[in-house]
Amino acid sequence: MSETERKIRVLIAKPGLDGHDRGAKVVARALRDAGMEVIYTGLRQTPEMIAEAALQEDVDVVGLSILSGAHMALAPRVVELINANGQDHVQIFLGGIIPDEDIGKLEEIGVSGIYGPGTLMDEIVGDIRKGVLGEKAK
C-alpha cells in the first residue's frame, strides 16, 4: 500500500475586529486551487482561538489577515501562543495593510512572510511550499 501524498494544511484566520474578509477568502481559494487544505475560521478570532485551532488541526501554516492596524498587538501574541503549544515548526504569514516600518519587527518575532495589496498569489503559494518542504527536509 502506498502512503498518501502529504497535504499541506493551512489555517486562515482573521484576528481582531475589522470585518474585511475578502482578502482572506481570496487567499483561501487560491491555496485550495494550489492543492492545499485550507481551514477557514471566519471573522473576529482572538489569538487564543487561532492558536487552539492551529493545534487541533495540526496545520503547517497559519495565515493571518489584519486590516485594522492592530497587527503589532495581535501577530506577536499569536506567534507566542503557537510556540507555547509546542508548534514552533508552524510557519506564520500575515496579509493586510502593514506599514513598512513594522515589517522588520514582525519578521524578527517570527512572521515568515508579509503580503500587502497587489501580492501575486503565486508568490504566497511558492513561499508556503518552500517553507513547508524545507521544514520537512530538516
Binding site: 500500500m1 502512503e3 498518501t4 502529504r6 497535504k7 494544511r9 483561501a28 481559494r29 491555496l31 485550495r32 486551487d33 494550489a34 492543492g35 492545499m36 487544505e37 485550507v38 481551514i39 477557514y40 475560521t41 471566519g42 478570532q45 482572538t46 487564543e48 482561538m49 487552539e52 485551532a53 493545534l55 487541533q56 488541526e57 495540526d58 503549544n85 509546542g86 508548534q87
Partner: protein, 341 residues
C-alpha cells in the same frame, strides 16, 4: 512514532499529530491505531448529515454546547467533532469552513474539533474518517459528532459508521416525491427540521411525517367506525415491530439553540433503545466485520499485485487489447497462472 501513553492521557498535541498520520495513512499512524484499538468502543458516535446549507455545522455546535452544559441532573461529556468537507476533484485542495459555525466551543478543553477533507471519497466521509474516530474514542471522548460533506441523496456511509444518524432538513428543499425517494432519508434515526423559524416549516414536517407513515406500515392502526374500535393493520405484527424505532422528527433553530436539548434527549433515547434491543452489539459486529472485509480485500489485492510479474500482466493486457481475451477471461488467466497466495 506518536506515544500511545500520551494519547491515552489526553495530550492534545500528540492527538492532533496522530490524526494527521491517520489521515495520511502512514505506517506509523496505522501502528499507533492498532495499539490504541483495545481502548476503543466506549464512545457514542453521532452522525450529522443533510444537504449543503441546512445548518449541519450550526447544529453540531449547539449539540456540543448541550453536552458540555447539560441540564442539571447530568454530567458534562467530552466531545470530539469530526467535520468533513469536500476536496476539489481538480486540484485536490479544499476549503474546510465548518469551524466558522463552531466558535461557541472555543477555549473549552473538553472539546476537540478536527476538520477533514474528503480526499476523493464519494460516500460523504473520507476513507480515513473511521480511523480518526477510533483515535478520538481511545482518547476518552464520550461523544463523537461526525459531520458529513453536504450530502445529496446517496452519501450514506455515515449510517455504517455512526450509532445514531441525524438527517438535517430545512424548509423549502423538496416536496413529498423527494421524501419517498430511496437514499439519505432512509438512514435517519432522527429527522431534524432545522431553520424551524422559517416559513414553510409545516410543509416540510408534513412531507417527512407522510414519508415515515409509508415506511412503517406495521405500526399503523386503522380506525374502524370512527374512533370506536382499533383494528391492527393487515400486515402481521411481529414481536420485533413492537420494539422498532420510528424516527422522530425534531424541529430546531440552530442559530439560537431552540430544540437542541430536546434533540439531545432523543439521541439519548435512541442510544437506550439500541442497547435494550441488542442492536448496539449487532451494529458493532457489522461495522467491525465490514472493516475486516475491506482491509482483507485491499491487503490481498496489493500483496498479490506486488508478487505478480509486470511481464505477465503486460502480456495478458496486450491480449485483452487485441480482443483475444475478454476482461473476465484476462482476470481468470492472471489468477490461474499468476502468483499463488
Amino acid at each position: 512514532m506518536v506515544s500511545v501513553q500520551e494519547i491515552l492521557s489526553g495530550d492534545r498535541l500528540s492527538l492532533a499529530r496522530l490524526l494527521s498520520k491517520i489521515e495520511n495513512d502512514t505506517s506509523d499512524g496505522r501502528a499507533t491505531l492498532s495499539e490504541l484499538f483495545p481502548h476503543t468502543g466506549n464512545a457514542h458516535l453521532i452522525g450529522v448529515t443533510g444537504a449543503p446549507g441546512t445548518g449541519k455545522s450550526s447544529l453540531v455546535n449547539q449539540l456540543a454546547c448541550y453536552y458540555r452544559q447539560p441540564p442539571e441532573n447530568k454530567t458534562p461529556k467530552r466531545v470530539a467533532i469530526v467535520a468533513v468537507d469536500p476536496s476539489s476533484p481538480f486540484s485536490g485542495g479544499a476549503v474546510l469552513g465548518d469551524r466558522v459555525r463552531m466558535r461557541d466551543l472555543a477555549g473549552d478543553p473538553g472539546v476537540f474539533i478536527r476538520s477533514m477533507a474528503s480526499r476523493g471519497s464519494l460516500g460523504g466521509l473520507a476513507t480515513t474518517t473511521s480511523g480518526v474516530v477510533q483515535a478520538f474514542d481511545s482518547a476518552g471522548f464520550e461523544i463523537i459528532l461526525i459531520e458529513t460533506v453536504g450530502a445529496g441523496q446517496a452519501e450514506v456511509d455515515i449510517a455504517r459508521l455512526a450509532h445514531t444518524t441525524l438527517v438535517v432538513e430545512a424548509p423549502g428543499l423538496g416536496d413529498e416525491i423527494q421524501a419517498i425517494k430511496a437514499g439519505i432519508l432512509e438512514i435517519a434515526d432522527i429527522l431534524v427540521v432545522n431553520k424551524a423559524d422559517r416559513a414553510g416549516v409545516e410543509n416540510t414536517e408534513r412531507a417527512l411525517r407522510n414519508m415515515l407513515n409509508l415506511s412503517q406500515p406495521a405500526k399503523r392502526v386503522y380506525r374502524h367506525h370512527g374512533t370506536l374500535e382499533t383494528v391492527p393493520s393487515p400486515t402481521a405484527e411481529t414481536p420485533e415491530s413492537e420494539s422498532a424505532w420510528v424516527p422522530p422528527i425534531q424541529k430546531t433553530v440552530a442559530i439560537d439553540g431552540t430544540g437542541a436539548s430536546e434533540l439531545g434527549d432523543l439521541i439519548a433515547q435512541h442510544k437506550t433503545h439500541l442497547q435494550k434491543t441488542g442492536e448496539w452489539e449487532r451494529m458493532e459486529r457489522a461495522r467491525l466485520q465490514a472493516e475486516l472485509e475491506n482491509l482483507l480485500q485491499i491487503t490481498l489485492v496489493s500483496r498479490w499485485r506486488d508478487a505478480l510479474s509486470a511481464e505477465m500482466y503486460e502480456n495478458v493486457f496486450e491480449q485483452l487489447i487485441e480482443r483475444q481475451l475478454s476482461p473476465r477471461q484476462a482476470v481468470d488467466e492472471l489468477l490461474n497462472s499468476g502468483p499463488k497466495s
